[in-house]
């Protein structure tokens, strides 16, 4: 009979909470940098000029197809050999996940922009808007609405992937859990608590996104024409 004892875990709850804060910090910063960078990458990829579209396509495909752990190790262990930077686990984590999410967000942006009817570009053009004005005022606002479900899903995926940063000794929730499990010899309780913590955070977030989607669907103005 397994004996559950959460007391040891609860005694060090602040360690886990600190880990959770760090996990959320990396996720948040990766979104903060990744979303605008993703937009830029998608616009480059959609551009008619090949000197823009080709490199953008390469970056996007490269970061979508290589394993995130390899990317993380590359930025942490390999990049400092190439150029003179002092990589901390924290910076490596943010750089890796910003670029990696940018690659995924770029594809979401591209899909969203391309899903908008050509007539919308023409309507904007006919009242004298240039390409950038059309994009900013007419196309993106509609595209972003359609992209929200995919955005939410990708953000949740990102939060899960950040557990990898524990491997380069960044003190995220997973790292703290490993630490605590070894210290207390109670992996069962520790990993159970950690699983519940991830579950709660992600569950709340996805409920929020369902609420948002429901609202968008109801407001009726999300359809073209």
């Amino acid at each position: 009979m397994v004996e559950w004892n959460f007391l040891a875990v609860l005694a060090d709850a602040d360690l886990l909470l600190q880990g959770l804060v760090n996990t959320l910090k990396v996720t948040f910063l990766a979104l903060l940098f990744g979303i605008p960078l993703g937009l830029v990458l998608s616009l480059c990829r959609l551009a008619r000029a090949r000197f823009l579209s080709m490199p953008a396509a390469f970056i996007v495909e490269f970061f979508r197809t290589t394993p995130p752990l390899v990317q993380l190790f590359w930025f942490f262990f390999a990049l400092p050999i190439l150029i003179d930077v002092r990589m901390t686990p924290y910076i490596a984590a943010i750089v890796t996940f910003s670029i990696q999410s940018a690659a995924f967000f770029a594809e979401i942006f591209r899909g969203g922009i391309q899903s908008i009817d050509r007539g919308q570009w023409e309507g904007a053009q006919a009242i004298g808007m240039n390409h950038w004005q059309s994009l900013r005022r007419i196309i993106l606002p509609q595209a972003v609405k359609r992209m929200i479900p995919a955005f939410m899903e990708r953000s949740i995926e990102l939060l899960k992937t950040t557990t990898l940063v524990s491997t380069v000794a960044y003190t995220d929730l997973m790292f703290q859990a490993n630490d605590l499990a070894q210290k207390t010899f109670r992996p069962l309780e520790v990993y159970t608590v950690v699983a519940v913590m991830y579950f709660v955070v992600i569950f709340v977030f996805s409920q929020l996104s369902i609420r948002v989607e429901y609202r968008l669907a109801r407001s009726g103005e999300s359809t073209v024409r």
């Binding site: 053009q125 006919a126 009242i127 808007m129 004005q133 609405k145």
Partner: protein, 258 residues
């Protein structure tokens, strides 16, 4: 020709090896309503889209109020994107499928170009938008989203949106073709009102009744050329070519009120 609003000289347009416009010459004078007829694929839309440079002409010149659009460079004409954007604010265009902005209310649709492109202040733009909505009879729909309007109402909003830019000329490309028959009348009456107000217009349509009663001049386009043109009562009753006669016969629902 001081009162020429749009003047087209030798306009050619090809898509790859397909020649769609084969040399169009046309002069549209201030206050004139010119109706363009022609069977499907004859190049009517392409003609309108070249006039506001949504398609780039392969050859030829277009003048707005006597000024060449673009820069003459040893015979050929070069266009800059910023000039074309400026020109498009002076040439209103209304489409078959409305192309309203679904994420904006009717009022915002009509204000958008004024604010973003012309740089008008929100207050002035709103006043202008309400004025134009009044003109097309949709003052009470200002705060609705396009999705909640009928096809005829959407098209009238699209007309108001174009008018709000104070264009020198309006282009209409089969603006009633996507409408249920009972909604066609309200849109045609709106356009007729513009004609009565003295707006200069180029109207591509299959509504021969409109051509007959409203237009000052009718063009018949065939294979990218103007095959016939003339005064509507004359040309619609007694077309000179067999091509046009056949085209008119094809519109059996149209009865000339003799």
């Amino acid at each position: 020709m001081t009162d020429s609003v749009i003047r087209i000289e030798n306009l050619h347009k090809s898509f790859g090896s397909l020649e769609v416009l084969g040399g169009i010459d046309l002069d549209v004078r201030a206050g004139e309503t010119v109706t363009v007829l022609g069977s499907s694929g004859s190049g009517k839309s392409t003609l309108l889209r070249c006039i506001n440079f949504m398609e780039m002409p392969s050859e030829g010149r277009i003048y707005l109020h006597g000024d060449l659009i673009g820069t003459d460079e040893g015979g050929s004409v070069r266009y800059s994107e910023s000039e074309l954007c400026r020109i498009r604010t002076r040439i209103g265009m209304v489409f078959q499928h409305f192309n309203l902005f679904p994420h904006m209310t009717v009022l915002k649709n009509v204000m958008e170009g004024q604010v973003t492109v012309l740089g008008r202040r929100a207050g002035a733009a709103e006043a202008k938008a309400r004025e134009q909505l009044e003109r097309v009879g949709l003052s009470d729909k200002a705060d609705e989203y396009p999705a909640r309007l009928s096809g005829g109402q959407k098209q009238r909003v699209a007309i108001a949106r174009a008018l709000a830019m104070d264009p020198d000329v309006m282009l209409f490309d089969e603006v009633t073709s996507a409408l249920d028959p009972e909604l066609v009348g309200e849109v045609l009456r709106t356009i007729r009102q513009l004609a009565d107000d003295g707006m200069t217009m180029l109207v591509v349509t299959h509504e021969l009744g409109f051509a007959y009663h409203v237009a000052n001049r009718v063009l018949f386009i065939s294979d990218g050329r103007i095959l016939e043109q003339g005064e509507p009562r004359q040309i619609l009753r007694e077309p000179a070519t067999r091509r046009m006669q056949e085209f008119l016969d094809g519109h059996a629902q149209f009865r000339l009120p003799f």
